[in-house]
């Protein structure tokens, strides 16, 4: 914005929007601070070119300065060990990237300052203006902490502010400091701070690299020399040149990294000792050790894990039933009301039987999905996930996975997409790839609607002891998914070859009481995405499906009416019976009917009829569409006013035998199909981007489809 130079009084237009990056070690309280600063103005997006997810939020400072805050993944140092960390470094080193920050808010946990300052000193050496936030997350308890703030500011060459990301105290001061930091951006460039003195060899190397790829500071040039082999923005030509220089100077990256890191620690370890005095043992540490005596106990640990998972699935099933009944009732009432006040035309039919029926079919599952996302967010927030990774690392290794895979597998229970993205913390490519390939076998929240509807036809709704039988069946399906995931992983482990080393090296953060604000934001964002994304697809598919199942080739439709009239006359059917029969015959003659009939031969051995065939086809876009499709098909196929899919399906009769369609064999076979099948376009798209190839999503799609088809075939043939 080139507004004229105004001498007095700056208008908001004078401030260019600035990019501020939020950077820090894992578990430094970065995300809490992000939520505090941006509130609900957050967006989730991807870094350009790669799919690493970032969260971005806009806010305005008191002087109207607009700020875009970008939350980067937690990182230990400028020497990345995983894909997640690489993204951070890549963005810091590439000034042309859209997400390259103008300045940085660096978050450090005050109780772990000795470790958290390593990355800070590196970032200061990269020449970024930095605001250091000392997060006192949990130590409101520790009255015994004294800090010499001025000493830190002077030695580390950056502004410092104390904040509690838990209570929000200090955030106002942070905003004022940030404002001043941004004001300084317009001013003259300051003298480059050098917290690490490059060796003669490093200086020479850095200079040569800077001639090839212009770096802001000597340290910037040095890091490009270290990371030239993978930095994407360098391009082939510059990469080769840098490689040559690195070779000529006989530069040993790993050794240089260790020397540099140790030298940095030598600089700030005494500083931290001087500036901060804490109690030797803190309450939260005592608490963590005591709790972990039980939670990570050799025998009790794994058992408690299983119990915890059982509780999670029980609560999805039992807590959600009341709000679900409520939502179903509201839609029933709403649909009926609409039908009465609207004229009897094609568009009111489209609205009630098509769109409302389809949407009701999916919205009713919001309570279950919310509960699941809520519980997983809590486990993550308190720090339990890292313990699960520690407990199961050995077992995971046996199956070709990493302890960290368990985080993906658990969150895969909510949705495969964030789960697959979370594998970026696994540094070994083979372990990461296998985790990505098997994660869709873990039953995600989109399967909840399908499972809930179908389990009703397989298991009675009674309780044994404290357990709800249907809840147990639900758990059984999740177990089936887990077992299938592990066994497939084992197969992939034996097929795939890799000589790369694998690591665990995982920080076990101290247990902390969950910040409900963080949990709330996570749940809100995920449920919103689920409803919005699923809602969009279901909305479109409902409309298309309504047309396809309400209209058909004229000759066929005429024949259906003719046939109905004949049958009605012969058997002396009353008005309602005739209308029902007509609706059913018309559906069969419609385009959707023709489509379903076309695939019927292939799925008949699995116990599925042509109506299920239609649902199978539509749910290849997203599996939760199944229930919506069923609702639309059965609403059109019957004149009865019924908005509960479960009741509609229960009433469905096989025309040849007169028995219910959803008997044990068919329902179970369908359950198996949905447990295994790869019916999610978005997951495939994410796998394509994460593996950077079409090969892996294709392999994944094929093996999962085969597993689903033959699994269902086996079940149906055994039971029928």
């Amino acid at each position: 914005m080139h507004s004229a130079e105004v001498a007095v009084g700056q208008s908001p237009a004078d401030f260019k929007k600035v990019n501020i990056a939020l950077i820090g070690n894992p578990n430094s309280g970065k995300s809490s601070l992000f939520n505090l600063l941006t509130g609900l103005h957050q967006k989730v997006g991807n870094f350009p070119g790669v799919t690493v997810e970032w969260k971005k939020g806009d806010f305005r400072l008191d002087n109207q300065q607009e700020v875009t805050l970008i939350d980067f993944p937690g990182t230990y140092s400028c020497y990345p060990n995983s894909q997640d960390e690489r993204i951070v470094i890549q963005n810091l080193l590439d000034p042309d990237s859209d997400t390259h920050p103008d300045a940085i808010i660096y978050v450090a946990d005050i109780t772990k300052l000795e470790n958290h300052l390593l990355l800070l000193t590196q970032i200061v050496d990269l020449g970024f203006p930095v605001l250091l936030v000392l997060n006192m997350a949990d130590i409101a308890e520790a009255g015994g902490i004294t800090i010499k703030k001025e000493l830190l500011e002077e030695q580390l060459r950056c502004r410092t502010v104390m904040v509690s990301s838990r209570t929000g105290s200090g955030v106002e001061a942070l905003r004022i400091q940030l404002q001043e930091l941004i004001n300084q951006l317009q001013g003259p460039i300051q003298v480059q701070p050098k917290l690490y003195e490059l060796s003669t060899k490093e200086k020479q190397l850095s200079k040569s690299v800077q001639e090839i790829a212009s770096g802001k500071t000597p340290y910037h040039g040095l890091l490009m020399a270290h990371h030239h082999s993978w930095l994407p923005f360098l391009g082939e030509a510059r990469r080769e040149k840098i490689a040559k220089v690195v070779q000529q100077t006989e530069f040993e990256s790993l050794r240089a990294q260790v020397t540099e890191t140790l030298q940095r620690f030598n600089f700030f370890t005494p500083l931290v000792k001087q500036a901060i005095r804490t109690q030797t043992t803190r309450k939260s540490q005592v608490f963590t050790e005591k709790l972990d005596n039980i939670l990570t106990h050799r025998i009790a640990g794994p058992l408690l894990f299983l119990l915890l998972m059982l509780l999670v699935f029980q609560s999805i099933y039992s807590w959600a039933s009341y709000p679900m009944d409520g939502i179903e009732a509201i839609f029933g009432w709403f649909g009926e009301g609409l039908q009465q006040i609207m004229p009897d035309t094609w568009y009111s039919d489209l609205l009630t039987n098509g769109i409302i029926a389809g949407l009701a079919g999916i919205l009713v599952f919001i309570p279950q999905i919310t509960i699941l996302f809520f519980l997983i967010a809590i486990l993550e927030e308190v720090g339990y996930m890292a313990r699960a990774a520690y407990i199961f690392d050995r077992i995971m290794q046996f199956f070709g996975l990493n302890g960290r895979s368990i985080v993906a597998l658990i969150s895969g229970g909510a949705c495969a997409i964030p789960a697959i993205m979370s594998t970026r913390t696994i540094s070994n490519w083979k372990e990461r790839l296998i985790t990505i390939l098997v994660t869709p076998l873990i039953s995600c929240s989109a399967r909840i609607p399908v499972y809930t509807v179908l389990i009703g036809f397989v298991v009675p709704a009674s309780t044994v002891g404290i357990f709800n039988l249907q809840g147990l069946a639900f758990m059984g399906l999740y177990l089936l998914g887990i077992v299938a995931a592990l066994l497939t992983a084992l197969v992939f482990k034996l097929i795939l070859r890799s000589g790369e080393r694998s690591y665990l090296m995982l920080e076990l953060p101290e247990y902390r009481w969950p910040v409900m604000r963080n949990v709330g934001y996570t749940v809100w964002e995920k449920v919103k995405t689920f409803v919005w994304e699923a809602g969009k697809i279901i909305f479109v598919i409902s409309i298309v499906l309504w047309f396809l199942s309400s209209y058909g080739p004229e000759a066929g439709m005429a024949a259906a009416i003719q046939e109905t009239n004949n049958t009605a006359a012969q058997q002396g059917l009353d008005e309602t019976q005739t209308a029902d029969l007509l609706a059913a015959k018309k559906l069969e003659a419609s385009y959707a009917g023709i489509f379903g009939k076309f695939v019927e031969p292939a799925i008949q051995p699995l116990g599925f009829d042509w109506k299920i065939g239609i649902a199978l086809i539509t749910s290849f876009a997203a599996r939760e569409v199944f229930v919506g499709t069923m609702a639309t098909i059965y609403s059109i196929g019957s004149e009865a006013d019924e908005y509960s899919v479960r009741k509609q399906m229960a009433a469905e009769i096989r025309p040849d035998t007169g028995k219910p369609v959803y008997d044990l064999a068919t329902s179970l076979s369908l359950l198996i199909f949905y447990a295994f099948a790869m019916q999610c376009m978005s997951t495939l798209a994410v796998v394509k981007r994460e593996t950077n190839s079409y090969k892996w999503p294709l392999i994944q799609f094929l093996y999962l489809s085969a597993l689903a088809y033959f699994g269902s075939l086996l079940v149906y043939q055994l039971l029928s």
Binding site: S77, N81, F265, R394, G403, Y503, M505, L508
Partner: protein, 79 residues
């Protein structure tokens, strides 16, 4: 006594619950990673417990807790 017996031996051979000091590392790649997480020559280290299915140990280093695999712990040489 214990400290003398364990002198120069790796973390995997040492006694649970006792605090030692790190002397050096025997594997450069592992060392680079451990150092960036704050495990330095001179750091205090203590094995708190070993994992349920073996293979990993739960350690306290300076002021933080970490999970390390046996192979990772094996490259840590104690003073």
């Amino acid at each position: 006594m214990v400290a003398i017996i364990n002198s120069g031996s790796s973390l995997t051979n040492c006694q649970k619950g006792t605090t030692f000091h790190i002397d050096r590392f025997t594997d450069e790649q592992i060392a680079a990673r451990l150092i960036s997480m704050g495990l330095l020559p001179g750091s205090e280290i203590r094995i708190v417990r070993t994992s349920p299915f073996g293979g990993a140990c739960y350690v306290k280093v300076n002021d933080q807790y970490l999970a390390l695999r046996k192979e990772e712990a094996a490259c840590i040489v104690l003073k």
